[in-house]
Amino acid sequence: MVKNITIFTTNTCGYCQMVKTYLKAKGMGYDEVNLDQTPARREEAHRLSGALTVPVTVVTKTDDSQEVIVGYNLAKLVPAVS
């Protein structure tokens, strides 16, 4: 079961928009960390994903385990949030 979802985004990132569109369509809430507004959290996104890219979606489960999805990747996002 999903406890919460955090998406790291930037203002100009079309793929971030798609992750948000998908979650909204599924009626799922999420927290957004916009790295243009909070550049200090870039390191956190990098550390979690190992990549220098957005979107990074962090799905925290009720047992506090985390799944990190790099990019707009429905093949990974769909099972992670279902």
Binding site: T12, C13, G14, Q17, Y22, P39, G50, L52, T53, V54
Partner: protein, 328 residues
């Protein structure tokens, strides 16, 4: 019109949701043609990953790519277009219906099809490109540029996209080496926009440099090795590399079909924008002869939509369909 009864049976399936597709859908849905769009990536296509578009008519101050994409989507959905997130993997001609299969193996039947799959970035194929993908090698400036605030960058390419994205990246990077194999091929207006950044030293234009290798370590990329026109190698120290060396059409899924492609893989159409597979049309960047602009992709989307209507009403007089020539 709306003849479709079965859930998986449609009047029109559009493959891709870029400007060509969304414009076509605005027209077809307004004509009451039941329309389903399949999109594997971003709704809005390449327009949605472009920062600002200055040459799309009707926006005197330019328009953000994401905003244009969002408005096109809303406009298409307002008239009833349905957008599915997924990829079409194959298309088979079964006479009255075309059978399309998506990435999870589901079949759709379509009376008519519009292929508006656009194109994707080419890769350089040089050593280090795959190894450091998303860890220092990037293809989307609007997605990944923010990670290079006050860092050095290399941009590879010399066409419109490379110059436009270099200008965009100047808002983050401390310095950009632009590596161009021969000469700049971008439009004059873009070159003019780039000039102040060259004058200020923020961008260094390196002509006659062929990238040879992207070198890095566990922390990411630290240099690009380029071969100069005299054959000598030169190091370009950097924290990241953005590659914009042209586009290749998204037509791999058509390889084993009767849809004719030109030698570069673009779809050949007649003047109705119909392909060599009857009732299957193509519009936008994926079409042989396309001018690779949002305004023209939208225009082709509108044309294709009107021709599809004629086709569904049995009024389309296929002209050169049977004897398609390779267009320029």
């Amino acid at each position: 019109m709306s003849n479709s009864t079965d859930k998986n049976q449609h009047d029109l399936v559009i493959i891709g949701a870029g400007p060509a597709a969304l414009t076509a859908a605005i027209y077809t849905t307004r004509e009451d043609i039941e329309t389903v769009i399949y999109e594997r990536g971003v709704i809005g296509g390449l327009a949605a990953v472009t920062d600002v578009i200055d040459n799309y008519p009707g926006f005197s101050d330019g328009v953000k790519g994401l905003d244009l994409a969002e408005d096109l989507r809303k406009q298409a959905e307002r008239f009833g277009a349905k957008i599915e997130l997924g990829e079409i993997k194959s298309i088979k001609d079964e006479g009255e219906f075309k059978r399309l299969t998506n990435e999870i193996g589901e079949d759709l039947l379509a009376r008519s099809v519009l292929i508006a799959t656009g194109s994707d970035y080419n890769r350089t194929g040089i050593a280090g490109e795959d190894k450091y993908y998303a860890r220092g090698v990037h293809f989307c400036a609007t997605c990944d540029g923010a990670f290079y605030r006050d860092k050095r960058l290399v941009v590879i390419g010399g066409g419109n996209s490379a110059v436009q994205e270099t200008i965009f990246l100047t808002r983050f990077a401390s310095h950009i080496d632009l590596l161009v194999r021969s000469n700049l091929k971008a439009s004059d207006i873009l070159i003019k926009e780039l000039q102040p950044f060259i004058d200020s030293g923020k961008v260094t234009l390196n002509l006659g440099v062929t990238p040879k290798e992207i070198v890095g370590d566990d922390n990411g990329v630290n240099k690009v090795i380029g071969t100069l026109s005299d054959g000598k190698d030169k190091d370009f120290p950097t924290d990241g590399v953005f590659v914009f060396i042209g586009l290749k059409p998204n037509t791999q899924f058509l390889k084993d079909t009767s849809i004719k492609l030109n030698p570069q893989g673009f779809i050949i159409t007649d003047s109705n924008l119909e392909t060599s597979m009857p009732n299957v049309f193509a519009a936008g960047d994926v079409r042989s002869g396309a001018t690779m602009q949002i305004a023209s992709a939208s225009g082709e989307g509108a044309t294709a939509a009107l021709k599809i209507r004629e086709c569904l009403e049995g009024r389309l007089h296929s002209n050169e369909v049977k004897q398609l020539e390779v267009m320029p």
